[in-house]
């Protein structure tokens, strides 16, 4: 849906995503993502870390799976989901390295990440995708189904299992630690 005015190829990926696929992607690559992804934001991250530190099983298998920093609006009758889009990844910086060490490799959010997160991504061969914030009515059209699988009491912050079709994202931080939030603006910086 976003490929018309850009010459670069769109990488079509389906979850679970293999380690090889992650290693083949570079910062700035456009990706169209399909399959199952899981929403988790601030409160859910705090709980995941608490659970992991107690040695409990995670509500979903991390391997090859993507976590989407998002809390959707409620679905209107007849719809699978309300408007949905990424929240600021930086607020998850406190939790992400711990989860990356435990196998979480694929994250989707908006905005830059801390040095610790970038280091963890490099060390464990992870990837951080950027989705555009604030185009949530449009993005909801990529969601085929939505089901709360954990922390229902957190309302919009519950963990949801989403089936998405061609969700448009861009590689923000690749496994080498290249970061579009640094390189992109540098190209257009006027002194």
């Amino acid at each position: 849906m976003q490929n018309k005015s850009n010459n670069s190829a769109i990488h079509k990926l389906h979850t679970p995503i293999s380690d090889e696929a992650i290693l083949s992607l570079k910062t700035g690559d456009m990706v169209s993502l399909s399959g199952i992804i899981y929403t988790a934001r601030d409160a859910a991250h705090a709980r995941l870390v608490e659970m992991a530190s107690r040695g409990e099983a995670m509500p979903f298998e991390f391997k090859g799976q993507a976590v989407f920093y998002a809390g959707p609006a409620p679905a209107k009758p007849g719809k699978q989901i309300g408007s949905v889009g990424p929240t600021t990844g930086g607020r998850m910086d406190t939790y992400s390295p711990y989860l990356i060490e435990r196998g979480l490799k694929i994250m989707i959010g908006k905005g830059g990440r801390s040095v610790d997160v970038v280091d963890a991504i490099k060390q464990h061969g992870g990837i951080y995708f950027a989705a555009t914030g604030g185009i949530a009515a449009l993005m909801a059209r990529c969601v085929e189904s939505s089901e709360v699988i954990a922390f229902d009491e957190l309302g919009p912050e519950a963990i949801r299992k989403l089936r998405v079709v061609e969700l448009p994202v861009i590689v923000a931080i690749d496994h080498q630690g290249n970061n579009i939030y640094e390189t992109g603006p540098k190209e257009y910086l006027e002194q």
């Binding site: 809390g71 959707p72 609006a73 409620p74 309300g82 990844g89 908006k110 830059g112 604030g134 009515a137």
Partner: protein, 280 residues
């Protein structure tokens, strides 16, 4: 004395909450369109195009533009000859927010306490600002404020000697630090003067001015334009992926201040800086 029954306020607030979240203001949409012409980055153009498409879908389907339907900020302008009857005005407004967020399928993003953090389930309480004016007008503006941009806002107490250049530097530094998380292209509201809290209030109020309009205070027109040009040189661009459209507008409101002070507040509004107004 003009009487207004509280339930009419509730109904108006309910309707404005839904309208503000789903219908992009015309001035903002026109702002996107003119930026699309000027944006040099292909990626930036693409992002701006999707923002326009998103606004169209939100309006047509009556769904929120952004899933973050904000903490509900409400500006009430009330004539001193108005008498609200029935419920307490604050209760009537919060009831309207509650109804609007439920009926409009808007996200409930408010927690009851900053530390206990339990979702109130209905997006109340709202943050309400009252302004008393002469006469019998009763006007309400609902401005749902998303926190991607709110979190990047800042306030500093400058010294008088830092002057207008100091203010400009602080505004630009704040926008630079905000980066992609604030969902650019942004609107930059700047409150200058008064006391600490007055500057913050004015910076929020400044976001309500139509994009593309000139400041009523001629002496500030040039400052706003120059600051906007400098912001757009930062290269942050649409969605922070690089480009020459980082902000759509800089809006300043000033107020008298103390001989010792120069308070400056910068309130960042994301590209979905929403508001809807109505009168009774």
């Amino acid at each position: 004395m003009r009487k207004i029954e509280a339930h009419r306020i509730t109904d108006l607030v309910e309707q404005l909450c839904i309208e503000a979240c789903c219908v992009i203001p015309v001035d903002l949409e026109n702002g996107f369109k003119s930026c699309l012409q000027q944006e040099r980055s292909p990626r930036g153009k693409q992002v701006l195009t999707t923002m326009l498409e998103n606004a169209r879908i939100a309006r047509d389907e009556r769904v929120p533009m952004c899933q973050d339907t904000g903490m509900t900020v409400i500006f009430v302008t009330m004539g001193q000859d108005v008498h609200v009857t029935g419920d307490f005005i604050e209760d009537a407004i919060n009831k309207g927010v509650r109804q609007g967020y439920v009926k409009g399928y808007l996200r409930k993003s408010v927690v009851s306490d900053p530390f206990r953090r339990e979702n109130t389930g209905d997006n109340t309480p709202a943050v309400i600002h009252y302004e008393m004016v002469p006469g019998d007008v009763f006007k309400v503006t609902v401005s749902p404020k998303g926190f991607g941009s709110e979190n990047k806002s800042a306030l500093r107490m400058l010294t008088p000697s830092e002057g207008i250049e100091g203010v400009k530097r602080f505004v630009i530094d704040t926008v630079s630090a905000a980066g992609a998380s604030a969902c650019p292209p942004i609107i930059v509201g700047v409150g200058i003067g008064g006391t600490m809290e007055r500057a913050a209030y004015l910076s929020k109020k400044a976001l309500l001015r139509p994009v593309g309009s000139d400041n009523d205070d001629e002496s500030l027109v040039t400052f706003e334009k120059e600051t906007l040009i400098d912001i757009n040189k930062l290269g942050i661009g649409p969605a922070g992926l690089g480009g020459n459209t980082t902000a759509l507008a800089v809006h300043v409101i000033t107020y008298a201040t103390h001989i010792a002070g120069l308070p400056v507040a910068v309130n960042i509004g994301c590209h979905a800086t929403r508001h809807a107004s109505g009168e009774l």
